[in-house]
């Protein structure tokens, strides 16, 4: 089975600062998808950003961007200008055909 590793159980950032969450994954496939999901205290999982492996350009969604390093199997999430509403659990995920795997999550705290 493919594995997804998030090595940072918890991270903290000052409001308006930038923070990077790390994710590595293991796969033998060449064409797959990667995602970052946010889970706020309400527990509803929300898609933050997605990356298609065959696209070299890093995905960007407003203040959220990724650094996708395919050879290194690394997929980090950068949050710029952090806001209090960004405080949540963040899950990195890998998808290939019907299979979708998640990391253990990183809890992000935003300090005012």
């Amino acid at each position: 089975a493919q594995t997804v590793t998030q090595s940072q159980p918890e991270m903290s950032v000052q409001e308006a600062e930038t923070v990077t969450l790390s994710c590595t994954y293991d796969t033998s496939e060449s064409d797959y998808y990667l995602f970052w999901y946010k889970q706020p205290p309400s527990r509803q999982m929300i898609l933050v950003i997605r990356q298609e492996a065959y696209k070299q350009q890093n995905a960007t969604e407003n203040r959220f961007s990724v650094n996708f390093q395919k050879a290194a199997k690394s997929f980090s999430l950068k949050i710029s200008d952090s806001q209090l509403g960004d405080a949540a659990m963040y899950f990195c995920a890998y998808s290939f055909v019907n299979d979708m795997r998640f990391g253990a999550g990183t809890r992000l705290t935003v300090k005012p």
């Binding site: 998030q6 998808y33 309400s42 527990r43 999982m45 995920a93 979708m100 253990a104």
Partner: protein, 113 residues
């Protein structure tokens, strides 16, 4: 928008009870999933289904079964609930195209006493 609805947000059941968790998606999506979420372990796949009456075991199927009689509905069944099945259960559906994205329900908190 894709809508995934889990009928029960909070349940408290007794050990040995049979428990049904229901999930409905509002589109004609083929793939549906049940995950279990525990602190420090992330989301672990219990079962998934890629069509009506079709199912595949995930990583932790023991103690669970599933039912998919209609395309829009995917049920998770705990045949005889145990305290170690106290957890958050998330249902999801996979939308092909547009990045093959998975969409989640709001989750069901199950406590087994």
């Amino acid at each position: 928008d894709v809508k995934v609805t889990q009928s029960s947000r909070y349940l408290v059941k007794r050990t040995g009870e049979k428990v049904f968790l229901e999930c409905v998606q509002d589109m004609d999506h083929e793939n549906m999933f049940w995950y279990r979420q525990d602190p420090g372990l992330g989301l672990r796949l219990i079962y998934f289904s890629y069509d009506v009456k079709m199912k595949e075991k995930g990583d932790i199927p023991e103690g669970y079964s599933v039912s998919r009689e209609k395309k829009e509905r995917f049920s998770l069944i705990l045949e005889s609930a145990s305290t170690n099945q106290t957890s958050m259960y998330l249902c999801a559906t996979l939308v092909w195209g547009s990045g093959n994205t998975i969409y989640f329900g709001e989750g069901s908190w199950l406590t087994v006493v």
